[in-house]
């Protein structure tokens, strides 16, 4: 049991947001974000499992004046570990990758991922060359991490160990309208 939940951690981050972009992974991360803190600068993703961190990297490179916070999942990031190497190499200062690590494939029934066994995503991120790698396990650590990512230059990788459990939030099938809304909001910023 972790003292943190994905929804609680999402609330903690959302309560501090101003004009940051938030890119959320398909499934649980997007459903929680949509239910808790819907805003035009949220970039929900619906497909391309594994690509949340890379989509955020593209936004960060395209808009170096805006802080970009990705909310990925352990199962999805494990599909695209090479992304960590590209993030380290490009090193955008406005880039943050938060990972809701509940050690299972939540949406598909809770099958354990590699982080339930021996893998450490923060160690992998550091090995990829990302110096600011944090692992967060308590509400206090989360508060301090959120303070840092909103104030300091990145790139950051923040692995947040969260409890298992599916969200009850509803799915928004507007796969065309949501990205279009985001693109317009970012252009206006």
């Amino acid at each position: 049991m972790s003292p943190l939940t994905r929804a609680g951690a999402t609330r903690c981050l959302a309560s501090r947001l101003t004009n940051e972009v938030v890119v959320s992974n398909l499934g649980q991360a997007s459903l929680d974000l949509l239910a808790i803190a819907d805003r035009p600068l949220n970039c929900y993703t619906f497909g391309a499992m594994g690509q949340c961190s890379s989509i955020g990297l593209g936004i960060a490179i395209g808009r170096p004046d805006v802080r970009v916070i990705c909310l990925d999942g352990d199962g999805s990031l494990l599909m695209n570990l090479g992304s960590l190497c590209t993030i380290a190499a490009e090193a955008p200062r406005n880039y943050v990758l938060m990972v809701w690590d509940n050690e299972v494939h939540q949406t598909t029934g809770g099958q354990p991922t590699a982080t339930a066994r021996r893998a450490s995503l923060v160690a992998i991120a550091r090995g990829a060359g990302i110096e600011k790698g944090l692992e967060v396990r308590t509400p206090d650590e989360l508060e301090r991490a959120v303070d840092r990512i909103l104030a300091e230059d990145g790139p950051f990788v923040v692995v947040v160990k969260v409890d298992r459990g599916s969200t009850t939030a509803a799915f928004d099938p507007d796969v065309i309208g949501q990205p279009a809304r985001f693109r317009k909001a970012l252009a206006a910023l």
């Binding site: 619906f46 497909g47 391309a48 890379s54 955020g56 593209g58 090479g82 990205p179 693109r183 970012l186």
Partner: protein, 171 residues
């Protein structure tokens, strides 16, 4: 005899259509285009670990207001098929794919043949409009229109670079 200026023509077509961001998993043939783009201070070449990652990166860049093209070998299309379908085609996020075609005329490596044979049918199955210019004249005739179609329709498009245009890879 292949006209070696084909690579500059490909780079020029991309640049004159305001494409500046070029994530890539390199390949011997597209490396000639990358040499042109890498030497241009207005262009940014980013080597990714896998083609799918480049699709994500370009999709983010487009959402942030920038055009980009993914340079790769046709084998890379297999590595990014789901991302192209479930993100770009589904959500109307345009990008330009530029890929060498291995596994066709003059191929020396049998392992390249199945993907070379599947290439255009795979693009068609995804609903991705493609051109396959066999000469610089054909490239110049078709590529600007293809890129215009990409951004008007909000759909990915593909420029396939066959051996007839590039000379291929000799082994």
């Amino acid at each position: 005899m292949t006209d070696q200026s084909w690579a500059k023509h490909v780079a020029d077509v991309l640049r004159r259509n305001d494409i500046r961001l070029y994530p890539t998993v390199p390949d011997f043939i597209v490396s000639h285009v990358l040499d042109e783009l890498g030497a241009d201070p207005e262009c940014r070449v980013i080597t990714t670990t896998r083609e799918e990652e480049a699709v994500g990166l370009l999709s983010g860049a487009w959402l942030a207001g920038h055009r980009g093209a993914l340079l790769m070998q046709n084998s890379g299309l297999g590595n990014c098929t789901n991302a192209l379908a479930s993100l770009n085609v589904a959500s109307l996020v345009p990008l330009v794919l530029v890929m060498s075609q291995r596994g066709d005329l003059g191929e020396f490596n049998p392992a390249q043949v199945p993907m070379g044979r599947a290439l255009t049918r795979l693009l068609e199955a995804l609903g991705i409009r493609w051109i396959r210019p066999t000469s610089i004249a054909e490239l110049e005739q078709q590529a600007d229109g293809l890129i215009k179609l990409c951004y008007v329709s909000g759909q990915p498009v593909a420029i396939v670079l066959p051996t007839e245009l590039t000379g291929g890879k000799k082994g």
